[in-house]
Symmetry: C2
Amino acid sequence: MKSNSFTVEIDGIDKEILRDLMSDARKPILQIANKIGISGAAIHQRLRKLEQSGVISGSKFTVNNKILGYNTMAFVGIYLDKAARNPETVRELKKIPEVLECHYTTGNWSILIKIICKDNEHLMQLLNTKIQAIEGVSRTETFISLDQQIDRQIQL
Amino acid sequence: MKSNSFTVEIDGIDKEILRDLMSDARKPILQIANKIGISGAAIHQRLRKLEQSGVISGSKFTVNNKILGYNTMAFVGIYLDKAARNPETVRELKKIPEVLECHYTTGNWSILIKIICKDNEHLMQLLNTKIQAIEGVSRTETFISLDQQIDRQIQL
DNA sequence: ATTGAAATATGTTCGTA
DNA sequence: TACGAACATATTTCAAT
């Protein structure tokens, strides 16, 4: 994996390979190869290059949060006493397993996080006893996701 | 995949299998088997059950947006003229490839979206010519993600 | 960059406990 | 549920173009 971050250009065949694997990480190389019309070895080589150049950052199984009992997703905007406290706050947020994303953002808040909870009760406990308890957090604004209509990756 | 949505209970071995595959969808079953201390066939059987029960919702290759030239991620809160317009608005948002997530939310906005753009110029164009152009969108509030510090799935 | 074929590694099925 | 062994597929390497 390259450490610098110049933009990498990929061609149409790379895109087709990536599109397939982005929707199913276990799709067999040969199946992709036959569809595109080049050999499996060529796909393999292209994948190796895409990994080395850092275009591919990994692969993941995804699980259904709701079936596991996690029904409440929410976004929380966090106001901090001093913006300088950002790094300490993030360090604390990392320790909270319900926090799925954490962004430094422009606008009203210092930090915006996405969290997943079992239910509203769990969400309330999390906000009151974990998030608000973090040193430096002065106020939060919570937006519960009633329904997620789109969840996808960048389209190649 | 089951269609009802009762909560599914999974045991410690299932969790260990899922944790491994959630961090690397292509990790060989036998490697997981050896680590846990059960046979590959047993892992295979458990995975089949986890798929059938709907716990596993898929697998994905993930790509590095920045290396592909997409450097600006943002959240946009959308105010609608009438809340009843929600479904039409979502239909339009689905057509915009830069939209990665779309949530109906409680709070100020009707809808909160996450978008990915090449740069601030691209973001501005997207907001002015695509998002604001959607019938029913009255106002938007944009929060640019200056840096994403956490990006992970639910922790089993 | 690409190929086909060989070698290796992995996934899947099945009879049994 | 779990096992191991047999079987079926998939990945990886490689010499050649």
